[in-house]
């Protein structure tokens, strides 16, 4: 049971890592957890995943508190809210826990390091490019996002709006929020298609959203007529790529992301890096990484999945 606390009691100096995703029951985070777990066993530490059942802003705080109480060496978090968990993280750090954020960052002041799956610019750009290609660079598009307050998504959406300026014939007509809930995302997609009969494409920068939207489209007469792209996991999207609902979507490899985050955490604990710009460390099979500006480490560019390559991936 309390592997983490075993680590806390400092036996053998091995690193105790706690992984805290936005919420449990989300395949994207399952995959990243898998990576982090693999990494931990490579550099020899104890690993445990905890998390709330809902993605509400305050829900993560008790788990951060618990990690601090347990004297966890490293905490890897994807923040539900950039601010809500700050105080808790600070206290954990005062208690000697190294805090690495991944996937969704907090205010830079509240963590030691942010492992960035890809630059916001990169993520926004790939999605705009994909939708532009798929609708012939002209027509109405809409965005189906996660929760209205999701830091990432909101940041990316801002970027996308900038990029869209270079595509004068594409108009972003609406942005709706599925709260990363299957049913809500599904129904919002239906509503989108109704309120905007001339809709050409939908961009959903969240794995739950794109899957639900794909599911609705595949059952509707708009299948193939309305393009859908965004960020999704190959396993959830495979069928829809096969049946032509979706031609191409993007994502980084969440498994690598978790893997990298865990190694970064280890590097922090062992003092190899401090979060200062220019520090370097080796992340197992992924090779060497360098700490960039305001303590961020970049995984790489998002990867595009389509029917030619999707079957090579399983996450």
């Amino acid at each position: 049971n309390s592997g983490a606390s075993g680590g806390a009691s400092g036996g053998g100096g091995d690193v105790s890592v706690v992984m805290l995703p936005k919420n449990l029951g989300n395949p994207y985070f399952d995959t990243s957890t898998k990576g982090a777990k693999a990494a931990t066993s490579e550099f020899g530490g104890t690993f445990s995943e905890v998390g709330p059942d809902t993605g509400s802003p305050d829900a993560q705080v008790p788990f951060i508190n618990t990690a601090a109480q347990q004297g966890t060496k490293a905490l890897i978090v994807s923040a539900n809210d950039p601010k809500a968990i700050c105080d808790a993280l600070d206290e954990a750090r005062q208690a000697g826990t190294k805090v690495v954020t991944f996937d969704s960052d907090t205010d830079a002041s509240c963590r030691d390091l942010f492992v960035n799956q890809a630059t916001a610019e990169g993520i926004a750009k790939v999605q705009v490019d994909m939708i532009a290609e798929q609708i012939g660079d002209a027509g109405e598009i809409a965005i189906l996002s996660a929760s209205a307050n999701a830091t990432n998504q909101n940041a990316w959406i801002e970027m996308m709006k900038k990029d869209l300026a270079d595509h004068p014939n594409i108009t972003l007509v609406d942005t709706v929020y599925g709260n990363d809930d299957d049913q809500t995302s599904f129904d919002k997609t239906a509503a989108l298609l109704q309120s905007h009969p001339d809709l050409k494409g939908i961009v959903s920068p969240t794995t739950v959203g794109i899957a639900a939207a794909a599911r609705y489209l595949s059952t509707s007469s708009s299948q193939g007529k309305v393009a859908l792209t965004g960020l999704g996991t190959p396993n959830q999207m495979r069928d829809y790529v096969a049946d032509g609902t979706v031609t191409e979507f993007a994502l980084w490899n969440p498994e690598d992301l978790g893997y990298l985050a865990a190694f970064a955490a280890d590097a922090l604990v062992s003092g190899k890096i401090t979060g200062k710009e220019g520090g370097t460390f080796t992340a197992g099979k992924l090779g060497d990484f360098t700490v960039g500006a305001d303590a961020t480490v970049l995984l790489g560019d998002p990867f595009r999945f389509n029917k030619d390559n999707i079957d090579q991936f399983n996450f």
């Binding site: 049971n1 309390s2 592997g3 983490a4 606390s5 806390a8 009691s9 449990l24 445990s48 905890v50 998390g51 709330p52 059942d53 809902t54 509400s56 802003p57 305050d58 705080v61 008790p62 788990f63 508190n65 618990t66 601090a68 109480q69 347990q70 004297g71 809210d81 950039p82 601010k83 809500a84 968990i85 700050c86 105080d87 206290e91 208690a95 929760s147 209205a148 307050n149 909101n154 929020y177």
Partner: protein, 344 residues
């Protein structure tokens, strides 16, 4: 004529110890003792402050909720009031108001919400369950509607720090002060004033209370306003502690509060229950969750345990009460106060 009566049928220790509330207190004590002895890191310096900070909103709202339930009513809209208050603070601070002013305004908003609930229940005479399900949606809707995608986070640090500050060198968070004050206030109000006696009378028999000159409607209105005001205060605390004002803050809190109140031994039909039981109920849920988390038990198992605890607790009381009643009353006597059908 010169007949004298003992004040009590049972000796003091029985009256104090053999109560539903004491059962909760005992269980709480048991859990604490076990955790201290067995749960790793439970004795750490951080446990207590975290426990208090995490349970503070539930504890705060549970206090007035106890009084409402004691009258036989219920208020499911509290979580939405917390959210609305949080948004109010956010919007106003965003508009350049100083935090204290914004907080006061939020309390005002809370009072208005409570007045709406209270008026519909006490004066129009609508069932509180239905009314507050309606206002639950209404208040939450306004909160979400006001902020939309925005989340106000730029609160002056000294205020956000105040929310998590400790008292002097102790590990006790500052919020303990208002909690202790409010616990005292509500305990006195419920247990040591004519107003409190009236609350129990209303819960046990609204008719009898009315016939004895208890201002039934006014009492209920006051209680709903109090509840919403305290919920608003909890909302201010919530906002400052997490440093973020969002429409969806504290969603679902209402069920946790109701669960805690019922676990604390308050009868859903009103007329029975005591404040120390409720405080114990809230802390029991808090300590249990905290200990289980330290044991790396997942949140869902925690939910199961709390739910089962709730069901078990009511079952035990109702079964006991039923056995007692079976000895006193007709076998028909229902769980509610006996409707006076016997004569007429």
């Amino acid at each position: 004529m010169a007949r004298t009566y003992p004040a009590h049928a049972r000796p003091l220790w029985q009256r104090v110890l053999l109560t539903r509330e004491m059962a909760v207190v005992a269980v709480l004590a048991g859990v604490v003792v076990y955790s201290v002895a067995r749960v790793p890191n439970f004795t750490g310096p951080l446990t207590l402050p975290y426990l208090l900070l995490d349970t503070a909103p539930i504890l705060l709202v549970a206090l007035p909720m106890t009084l409402v339930v004691a009258t036989g009513e219920i208020d499911l809209s509290v979580a939405s009031v917390v959210g609305l208050s949080s948004v109010t603070v956010g919007v106003l601070v965003d508009a350049g108001w100083p935090v204290p002013a914004a907080a006061l305004a939020a309390l005002g908003v809370g009072a208005v919400c409570g007045a709406l609930n209270g008026y519909l229940v006490a004066y129009v005479g609508l069932p509180s369950l239905a009314v507050t399900i309606g206002t639950l949606a209404l208040f939450r809707g306004i909160a979400v509607g006001l902020l939309g995608t925005r989340a106000v986070t730029d609160f002056p640090d000294r205020w956000t720090e105040l929310a998590t500050a400790r008292i002097g060198q102790t590990q006790l968070p500052l919020v303990v002060v208002p909690i202790v004050v409010l616990v005292a206030v509500f305990a006195v109000l419920l247990h040591l004033t004519p107003f409190g006696r009236g609350i129990y009378d209303i819960g046990l028999s609204t008719d009898a209370a009315h016939f004895s000159g208890v201002a039934v409607a006014r009492t209920k209105l006051v209680l709903f306003v109090l509840t919403a005001a305290v919920a608003a205060f909890a909302g201010v605390f919530f906002t400052l502690r997490y440093g973020t004002a969002r429409g969806d803050n504290a969603t679902g809190l209402e069920l946790q509060v109701v669960a805690a109140v019922l676990l604390g031994g308050v009868s859903i039909f009103g007329g029975r229950g005591a404040l120390h039981g409720v405080v114990a109920g809230v802390l029991l849920i808090g300590v249990l969750s905290s200990a289980l988390r330290l044991e790396n038990v997942t949140v869902n198992v925690i939910n199961i345990i709390i739910g089962a605890l709730l069901v078990a607790s009511v079952l035990s009381t109702s079964v006991l009460g039923w056995l007692v009643r079976r000895r006193q009353h007709s076998p028909l006597a229902p769980a509610q106060p006996q409707p006076g059908r016997e004569e007429r």
